[in-house]
Symmetry: C2
Subunit: 592 residues, 2 copies
């Protein structure tokens, strides 16, 4: 059975040695003292390892089942959900006014990673709730907040997001679900939504669906869309549950993975809904959830890779097969462990250097969100807006690749379901698709984010890299394998942006045909920057006589690997981009 | 439900316009006239489309089941197997002396691709039989050939390969299965083998297991290994089936994919076995099967991608979502089809240019095998020996990537099992693992094949590329997008080989740490060469006033895409290789 041990030490390092959160001067960050974060991470790690991880294979094997319209989650999910609620984990970074603990998002992100690594399908029940909480918190009336948020913070009630319909995913302008205004100010919602994660289940007393629908008078396309709160059970004035609403599950989808989460077809038959936010401005309200959800999915990308990696390492140390080419390393045994072989090393280093880099990028992203929200920092808001598609798209593509590499270490045993490696791969696959398929992330990055606010944010990013290189030009440790590769990769990225500017005006296809390559380049530069920052932090720690010198030396060596072996990808992406749209668009549709 | 239409036209083009088989002067090739191959491909295509493809999802859903030691294949498999036998497809390229049709391997390869694309799990029953047939044909006594081959050619009896044991896969020296010599010249085989594809099933009267085991006196490691024929039912002197042998199935494995094929744990309890080939030289005999099997697996890599690609194209043309950025292309509809979007185009072109290039490489490889076997051409034998790990490793890695990309076109619908795209991905995954995991292919390439016969074959490969570039230096069509990229990529590959020579002597890890990168580079250069050859063939055809000009123009455009957008990967791989083993091997095993 697969194992999982939370990487609390690495998280602690990011929070305190790299991001230095307790000195950041952000409201709420003063609580993030090392002793406190250690205690939180330790407790969360125990829950992840002892309660959630053992249920991961159970959820995959059993899946969810529907009987007479009632959806049952896999054995053990309900008890685990209660444990998570009792520990207060569901409201860790929620507003204290509604029962939350008010912790910064960066801490919630660290804890979230552990839960996702341990059991991604399970954690989605609370993850979706958190997204719905955020949307109501940002856009709800005071009465709506009072009615729904305390129960959602505690996860007595869970939440969902309802966007997709059978004929429309990305193109929400085609939406058919209708909202008819009623005399009492409520709406009747009618239509079908698909791919609704946690759409129906037995973990909570009530489910608060957030549903996009078209109300009269909004015009064509996405302009006519509004967002509605549609509870499974209506809520009486006293807060007690009232009548069952006309929101029912049509079926549970059979999926490639995340079987433990009930992905539902939801039918709304004149269900009572309440407008959330402004009429006909539902897309805006939904995006509050979407951005948070996208970073959460980017986290899933490397968190699944982390779980798979831990098991690949254990297998590579345990499995005896062949001899090291440089001489036996286990001479008293019949063979050496797999980990002696250079190609296995390469495989494990690819995984390790990606995962730790992506963790740093995600934590930095969470830190930017805290800065934006808690310090009203517009520059931080702009930066995270730029980075969101990169975090989502790059980390889920590469996270899936890393998971496949981890599975590969097991040879044939990795293809057998018992090993658990297949589940990691099947589960990780969804992250490239949902919350906007990665091609849509690339389009968002190149088509919107690059030019946002006059290109201010991407310029700020380049300035940040330049500043780092300049400030550390004389740093001997960084000169050994960090500064030059980062400079080169950043120059490639700038050249690509320049190519888009010069050629995208003539023909936007010249930019869009390179969008996925650009997203990947950007991801590599981000991880290169993260590794350079971590290398600096670790060199500084070593110079200051840090106790755990081995940890820091490993960190620096892992970073040098990323710079030497992963960053050269930017040159390839640039060459592809600079070849333009011509070869991409050459064929008539009929020629495929 | 997924569709499949055999790409007979593309195959015909490769056989006659590119390889020009009927002019090749290889014994047996004179039969490969265009009319004849067209008829064969058409019939095979019908069987693939109408019989095999509709059973693909059935096999995935039902899987195989065992009741009281009897293994049942999915509904419809038996009837389809009978149809395949009746059509004579199982012996297409087998020796006429044993009932085969004696067709060249290149034609068998084309037909095989169709069957694999249509239903990979199903086709493995006959694919394994073909491998076992080859081993007996090459190493068996006349009596063994007479006893087993006719029934195996007709697939009345099927075959298996038994190498892996629970504690040993690649490292066969650890093998524990024993063979005890008996007074009558037979052996008693005792041990457990795992991952035995088609190990037990209801499709054939008898199953001929080829089993590696250790007979006394052979010494340590792989030197002591011999190969044995172990029939499920012993065969009487008159050819009738006799007693049930002690070869039984322990269980069927639950796998990520290829559910339609029974992957068995096989228990040999003093089973009667007959030595095949020389005592203690079983590895050599087994490699007869392995090389053929590896090229067959390389074919699976792109054949699964082909099936997935066809469905991705259909979906991209059908699904309306968004508008072309350059202006509506379906103005009367609510949206444009997905295929108008540049990033979808990029995705489809990646798939198409890989698949058609890999098909060309595989057909060329089959052609080399025919040349080696039918014309006793040692240079062809050396070349295909060099290319085998490239065909297996590169094409299955990239084939899986392409399948994942095809699934991505479907967005959320691709994650739902109903679409069939998940099955393609899950099935394609195994090809990276079995018949030697791809890391082992890379090791075979860099550690053995490069230096084989004093490096003669790799030199011949480089000479061939150089010769092509020289012969076509003045070719205007090829100058437009083919010659320069091929030259550059080939130079990168040579630089990598040079790096290995100069640095691998000091420390073999310098070569082995770059082995997977080298395998991928080599694959790209091979596909670049294939595309250049195809472009030449199509330019020539256009100049000669070919009827189907559109086909040839599409071919050239697809090739230009590969050269511009895929070949730049060689620079990245070279940079990784030239960074050496230091960052790869820097960590102690305990630091992972």
């Amino acid at each position: 059975m697969p194992v999982y041990n939370a990487p609390a030490k690495d998280m602690h390092y990011l929070l305190h040695d790299v991001l230095k959160v307790s000195e950041a001067g952000i409201p709420g960050y003063e609580e993030l003292e090392p002793d406190f974060t250690s205690a939180v991470l330790e407790e969360a790690g125990k829950l992840a390892r002892d309660v959630l991880a053992p249920l991961n294979a159970v959820g995959d094997r059993e899946g969810c089942r529907m009987e007479n319209g009632v959806v049952y989650t896999p054995t053990g999910f309900k008890a685990a959900f209660e444990q998570m609620k009792e520990g207060g984990w569901t409201g860790l970074d929620c507003d204290p006014e509604y029962g939350g603990q008010g912790m910064p998002y960066v801490l919630g992100t660290a804890v979230g990673e552990m839960f996702v690594s341990a059991n991604m399908a399970f954690n989605m029940y609370q993850g979706l709730t958190h997204g719905a909480y955020s949307a109501i918190h940002a856009h709800g009336t005071q009465a709506q907040k009072t009615t729904y948020l305390p129960k959602m913070v505690s996860c007595d009630w869970t939440g969902t997001m309802n966007l997709t319909e059978p004929h429309c995913g990305t193109d929400l302008g085609l939406m058919r679900t209708k909202a008819e205004p009623q005399a009492d100010g409520s709406y009747k919602i009618t239509g079908q939504k698909i791919f609704i994660s946690a759409g129906e289940h037995d973990l909570a007393e009530n489910i608060i669906h957030l549903v996009l629908a078209k109300a009269p008078g909004g015009g064509e396309g996405t302009k006519g869309i509004s967002l509605f709160i549609v509870p499974k059970f209506l809520v009486n004035a006293d807060g007690a549950l009232g009548a069952r609403n006309g929101a029912t599950v049509g079926k549970i989808e059979e999926k490639m993975g995340i079987h433990g989460n009930a992905t539902c077809v939801m039918n709304y038959d004149g269900a009572t809904g309440y407008l959330l936010g402004e009429l006909h401005k539902g897309m805006r309200a939904m995006f509050t959830m979407m951005n948070e959800a996208r970073i959460g999915v980017g986290l899933q990308g490397y968190a699944q890779a982390e779980a798979a990696y831990q098991n690949a390492v254990a297998y590579a140390k345990d499995r005896l097969q062949g001899r090291a080419v440089t001489g036996a390393e286990n001479p008293s045994g019949p063979s050496d462990p797999l980990i002696v072989h250079p190609d296995i090393r390469r495989n494990l280093m690819d995984q390790k250097s990606f995962i730790e880099g992506a963790r740093a990028l995600t934590f930095w992203g969470a830190h930017l969100i805290d800065k934006a929200h808690r310090s009203n920092d517009a520059a931080a808001e702009g930066m995270i807006s730029l980075l969101t598609p990169v975090i989502k798209g790059f980390q889920t593509d590469k996270g899936f690749d890393a998971t496949i590499q981890a599975q590969q270490v097991f040879g044939g045993h990795g293809y057998i379901e018992d090993s658990g490696m297949s589940q990691f791969a099947r589960d990780a696959r969804i992250a490239m698709i949902y919350e906007g398929a990665n091609g849509v992330q690339a389009l968002d990055l190149v088509g919107r984010k690059l030019a946002q606010d006059g290109g201010k944010h991407v310029m700020a990013f380049f300035e940040m890299v330049k500043g780092f290189l300049k400030d550390n030009a004389a740093h001997e440790g960084l000169a050994d394998g960090f500064l030059e590769p980062l400079k080169k990769a950043s120059k490639d990225l700038q050249a690509a942006a320049m190519y888009f500017m010069q050629n995208g005006m003539k023909n936007p296809n010249n930019a869009l045909a390179g969008s996925t390559d650009f997203l990947h380049m950007f991801g590599h530069v981000c991880l290169g920057l993260m590794w350079a920052r971590m290398a600096k932090a670790s060199h500084d720690a070593l110079a200051a006589g840090a106790q755990d010198a081995e940890f820091h030396r490993t960190k620096i060596a892992t970073g040098r690997y990323y710079m030497a072996r992963q960053l050269p990808a930017t040159g390839m992406h640039l060459a592809r981009i600079e070849s333009g749209a011509e070869t991409v668009m050459a064929l008539d549709a009929g020629a495929f």
